[in-house]
């Protein structure tokens, strides 16, 4: 059909009522701007909060929990239907926190191409000596470089560098809260005592600040070799293997697989942090609800303006029909007015949304809990822009649909007679 003519007529009609048209378009622009900045901001926060947990949480963790063995010795001798064994007060005994044959397991894991990387850990309970009192704490033996690469360990270290754990012998990074309790600063020495009575003096090289104060009051990090030395264990002794996958969604399945193959406990990130998904989901729903509400309001604006335009343009519609434009042509004219308002308003909305997001992105946002973040986080995913424009077009189409149907059914005879 004669599309260019239809557009030409719509444009002239809009120009004749440019103030109202502008107001309608501003309505759409405003709602799309809000939609984009809100979604960008909300999802920026989501990403940040998820990142807070997800980035530094292994997708799968292999470890040995303290628990009684599933198969008690008595089960081995009473393995038939007639006898049923009751055991009271089962206790865990002589449990070995280390992962058996860890070197071989790690070799296999390193070759698995679903896995992005692994980090072994060896944790120990220790007492930090400060003057006359002992403070209980936890020392995590880690490989600083791998931890930084896979779990952003370095991002949470301040007043020094994470990698110093590997370069400075007998060094330690203390949780910020713990360091405050011990009254030490980088360069000072701290003394650790293990449950087994072993003692060691380590040099503080940096502080660690996770954003969770209770955690920072007890945790400290040193190299895995230092912990092995502290516990008097050989250098393949490892208590945890942390695994990062390329595709996080495989974690539950692979955790089961590793549990059966290696006989260790295997915990996947989904079961460990189920609540985070829910939080993001709710925040998303809120942003979409607000954005769509704004759009519906803008849609009513367009609806009103089109109705008014059609009321004013009754004569023009009648004459178009009398001179050979069909009802369908008239409908197309008013629909394209609505869609032009939607498209122009929507595109401008995307632009202002982007500008607004950039402004939010520049606002300082400094918090103790999040040392790596200095401004408000914003997500610029193209998805929100596409969704925003689609919504704008759908709403304006719906807002234009009924008025233009009304216009198309105007009977020219009634109008022409009416004079």
């Amino acid at each position: 059909m004669n599309f260019r003519l239809i557009l030409d007529i719509s444009r002239s009609m809009m120009m004749a009522r440019w103030q109202q048209t502008l107001v309608a378009a501003i309505g759409v622009t405003f709602s799309i701007t809000m939609f984009i900045s809100l979604l960008g901001f909300m999802n920026g926060l989501n990403d940040m909060l998820d990142g807070l947990v997800l980035n530094r949480t292994p997708h799968i963790r292999l470890y040995n929990d303290i628990k009684p063995t599933e198969i008690q010795p008595i089960h081995k001798t009473t393995n038939n239907d007639r006898i049923y064994a009751f055991i009271n007060s089962v206790k865990a005994s002589n449990s070995r926190m280390e992962i058996d044959n860890s070197a071989a397991i790690m070799k296999v894991l390193n070759r698995d191409n679903r896995i992005k990387g692994i980090c072994p850990r060896l944790n120990a309970q220790v007492l930090f000596r400060s003057g006359t009192i002992d403070i209980t704490g936890m020392v995590n033996g880690i490989e600083a470089r791998a931890e930084s690469e896979l779990f952003s360990f370095g991002d949470y270290v301040n007043s020094g560098k994470a990698i110093d754990l590997q370069f400075v012998p007998n060094s330690i990074i203390l949780g910020k809260g713990l360091a405050e309790k011990l009254l030490v600063v980088p360069g000072d020495m701290v003394q650790l005592t293990t449950a087994g009575g072993e003692r060691l003096s380590l040099k503080v090289v940096a502080f660690f600040q996770s954003g969770i104060a209770d955690y920072d009051k007890v945790q400290s990090f040193t190299s895995i070799q230092t912990v092995q030395k502290l516990l008097g264990k050989p250098n393949n002794h490892v208590s945890d293997i942390q695994i990062k996958l390329h595709d996080m969604s495989l974690a539950p399945m692979m955790a089961k697989e590793f549990h059966t193959i290696y006989g260790t406990d295997a915990e996947d990130i989904q079961s460990a942090n189920a609540q985070f998904e829910t939080g993001s989901f709710v925040r998303n729903i809120i942003s979409y609800a607000v954005g769509i509400t704004l759009l519906i309001v803008a849609g009513f604006g367009i609806y009103n303006i089109l109705n008014m335009m059609i009321y004013e343009k009754m004569d023009s519609i009648a004459i178009l029909k009398a001179t050979g434009f069909s009802g369908k042509d008239v409908r197309s004219i008013f629909l394209s007015i609505a869609l032009s308002i939607g498209l122009a308003g929507g595109l401008l909305g995307l632009l202002f949304g982007l500008i607004f997001s950039r402004l939010i992105d520049k606002l300082p946002f400094e918090t103790q809990a999040l040392p790596t973040i200095t401004t408000y986080p914003v997500n610029y995913d193209l998805k929100y822009y596409v969704t925003g424009l689609t919504f704008a077009l759908i709403t304006t189409f719906l807002a234009g649909y009924f008025p233009s149907r009304k216009a198309s059914s105007i009977d020219p005879v009634i109008i022409i007679r009416g004079k």
Binding site: A16, G324, F325, S326, V413, I416
Partner: protein
Amino acid sequence: MGEIVLQASHIHKYFEDPVKVKVLHDINFSINKGEFVSITGKSGCGKSTLLYILSTMDTEFEGDLSINGVSTHLKSEEELATIRNEKIGFVFQFHYLLNEFTVLKNVMLPALKLGKLSPVKIEQNAMLHLENLGIRDKAFKKANQLSGGEKQRVAIARALINDPLIIMGDEPTGNLDNKNSQIVYDIFNSLCEKYNQTLLIVTHDKSFASHTHRIITMNDGIIISDSPK
């Protein structure tokens, strides 16, 4: 006589307002190519109602209407719009121009809709019609900046743009002074004479009607006389 351009057979029309009133009763006549016909009668006798039916805009009637030998019965709204676009040129009492457009664009619109010629050619034709009607200098004015007589000439140019089978007018001089009425009549007359243009004009202006070639007189919804000159 020549070929039949328009044929009305047994046309009846009722209005329900609120009781059923018959406004047209058994209208039968046909118009040949090149005829200059007027329909007269006193106000309220059904002239306009008949013209809206003949122009295909009003489809709620009994009987049949053929244009160029083709019955309009059972045609869709879109097909009827195409017939109006291609075959019928309108001139109303109130000029009904589109105020958002220039005079030139108003004249061009039906041809742009028809889409048979290129926009450039259509513009040339439109300018030619405006020239013939003596309003070439008004081509780029907005439609609402013209006087009544000028507007009516623009409406005539618009009616002519698709070279229609028939031009219909509902009191085209009803709103004009004597001088402008005379101009409009002269235009119609020369169209008929020079280009063999068929015209059907509703008017209650006795003197206008008396100068046409054939006068159909109506009273209370029926044709009481049909007299070629």
